[in-house]
């Protein structure tokens, strides 16, 4: 009864890893602060997918859904605060370039 969906675990884990690679690549290669936040969003989507997969495979779908709902609320507030910081930074320097955040050194 339990374990009928176990065959889905590895293929979905591969998709999760591919999304993580996409997100990390975006974070390290982009020069734009907003696109950096989009990369962060992709990472969080990958984590959400992994949570849902783990829940489906073990039959704990109710628990996984409860965790995902909380995670989505946290993600929204996080993005709102992060974009607030980006806008604040833009107000000072007029640019959205990551290379301009190298002001503090040492």
């Amino acid at each position: 009864m339990n374990g009928t969906h176990l065959y889905l675990l590895w293929p979905l884990a591969i998709v999760v890893i591919m999304l993580l690679v996409e997100g990390l690549y975006c974070i390290f290669m982009t020069y734009n602060l907003i696109r950096l936040l989009i990369g962060v969003e992709l990472l969080i989507k990958a984590a959400t997918l992994m949570l849902v997969t783990a829940g489906y495979v073990t039959g704990q779908m109710a628990l996984a859904q409860a965790l995902v709902v909380t995670l989505i609320v946290i993600e929204v507030v996080f993005i709102v605060v992060a974009t607030g910081v980006v806008i604040g930074f833009h107000r000072h320097t007029g640019s959205l370039d990551v290379r301009d955040t190298r002001n503090l050194k040492g």
Partner: protein, 469 residues
């Protein structure tokens, strides 16, 4: 009753935000101070054994899945002390009115979050409250809205989000293995299949996430910028309890009580701890900005706590918890003095300061106590906790790491004395003739913390003698 630690600050924030008009604005600071003083008193009494918090009856409406043990009480005491000092500092350093009100509300929310981190018994709830403390930290770091503050906050945001993703991936693997996220369920499942790749992967991912949040090397990238550019009461909060509650306390809780210390986890702690101590001390020696020096010093001292955990024994745990308390007190003291210096002189470069102990005697004296405690000089409390960590390491057979800890103490003494000498001793530097002592809030809290350091330092061997005899 235990849930009151979370509910009371939260309800105070809600009540303060109802439309009372100006009354709430003026009362907010005193409400906050009252709450933190109350929490400090209650947790000190609980630690001394005079009251038993679990035995107080309360209606089932307030019964959540929370539990209290000695380690939690230590965190509750430290957070009450540090937040109380930060609130007191906000009186001179944050402008009156709307700004100070927002600041107090955010600090009370952070207090509620930190208390919750101390009390939860579920891995996902732990993650939720870690995020709550982090999100409030982002807002607090950008509070004064200068460019450097936004830059520091942004770096913290990006690294913190990576830690978030690592923790959530780990939690999903734990759901796969254990079917539940409560501490008991996870402990049972991890103990049952210790060596499976999935379980090791889950433990490794979660620990890496917590290393990032705690600012340990090599994940410390965000820490110096965030500590230096924030407003001073915010630096006090972050350095004293913010990173330590969500990084170090959670490491202690998970490593000892949920995942279990075995050889691999121990080795990871020892390596990360030793690396943080040495690299942090070396970086601190090169700094000219005194706040940045204190930030690197924090990385180094947190490395000591992790090194104590790596010993893997009960003595290691006790030594780490004691150093946790000491670090909260002396680091807060040093940041309070940095705040006094910044407010009165407006300078952050140590090369331009000198000879201030004549003009600012209280600040000079308390900063000397803090610096000596950080360096581990007897009879201050820092000496005892470092000694216990070294004894724990030798007892567990890690002589090499104990030697590293002792040598790094010498480095710590070096940069702390450099701090003290460049700022307070020597001839009075040019342009500083008119500096006067900082206000009663700042010097009062500095003196209180110095008294705690001296008191604990003298009381500790007496307490040990009473235990032995």
């Amino acid at each position: 009753m235990v849930s009151f630690f979370i509910l009371v600050p939260f309800l105070c924030v809600l009540l303060l935000n109802l439309p009372w008009g100006n009354l709430a604005r003026r009362l907010a600071l005193w409400v906050g101070l009252g709450l933190t003083a109350g929490q400090a008193a209650v947790s000190a009494c609980a630690l001394a054994g005079w009251i038993d918090l679990r035995a107080i009856p309360v209606s089932p409406f307030f019964k959540y899945d929370l539990a209290l043990d000695t380690l939690s009480i230590v965190l509750l005491l430290c957070s009450a002390l540090v937040f109380g000092v930060a609130l007191l500092l906000s009186r001179p350093l944050v402008s009156q009115g709307e700004q100070r009100f927002n600041f107090v509300c955010l600090l009370l929310l952070m207090l509620a979050g930190t208390n919750a981190v101390a009390l939860v018994r579920d891995v996902f709830s732990l993650y939720v409250f870690i995020e709550a403390v982090s999100i409030v930290s982002f807002i607090l770091i950008s509070f004064n809205k200068d460019q450097d503050a936004f830059e520091g906050a942004f770096k913290y945001i990006v690294l913190s989000s990576m830690a978030t993703v690592l923790m959530v991936l780990s939690i999903s693997l734990l759901v796969l293995v254990a079917g539940t996220t409560s501490f008991d369920g996870v402990r049972a499942a991890v103990a049952a299949s210790r060596h499976a790749g999935v379980v090791l992967g889950a433990i490794g991912l979660f620990l890496c996430g917590l290393f990032i949040k705690g600012g340990l090397m090599p994940f410390h990238g965000w820490l110096p910028d965030a500590y230096t550019c924030a407003l001073n009461p915010v630096s006090v909060c972050l350095a004293g309890i913010g990173t330590k509650a969500v990084g170090v306390y959670t490491l202690i809780r998970l490593a000892y009580f949920v995942f279990g210390i075995d050889a691999a986890v121990s080795q990871a702690f020892l390596l990360v701890g030793a690396f943080s101590i040495v690299a942090g001390s070396l970086a601190a020696l090169n700094q000219t900005d005194y706040k940045r020096l204190l930030a690197y010093s924090s990385i180094s001292q947190v490395g000591y706590i992790i090194l104590g955990l790596g010993a893997g024994t009960g003595l290691g745990l006790a030594a780490a918890a004691f150093h946790f308390f000491n670090h909260a007190v002396f680091k807060t003291l040093l940041f309070v003095n940095a705040g006094a210096l910044e407010q009165k002189t407006g300078l952050r470069d140590m090369r331009k300061l000198g000879g201030l102990s004549a003009r600012m005697p209280l600040t000079g004296f308390s900063s000397l106590i803090g610096a000596l405690s950080a360096a581990g000089v007897p009879p201050l409390s820092g000496f005892w906790s470092k000694l216990l960590i070294i004894i724990a390491l030798i007892g567990a057979g890690y002589h090499g790491y104990a030697l590293v800890a002792v040598l790094a103490s010498v480095l710590t003494l070096a940069y702390m004395l450099a701090w003290q000498r460049n700022i307070f001793f020597g001839p009075l530097a040019a342009g500083l003739e008119n500096i006067e002592e900082a206000g009663w809030e700042i010097s009062g809290s500095a003196l209180l913390l110095a008294v705690i350091l001296i008191g604990v330092g003298i009381a500790f061997p007496l307490y040990l003698c009473k235990l032995i005899w």
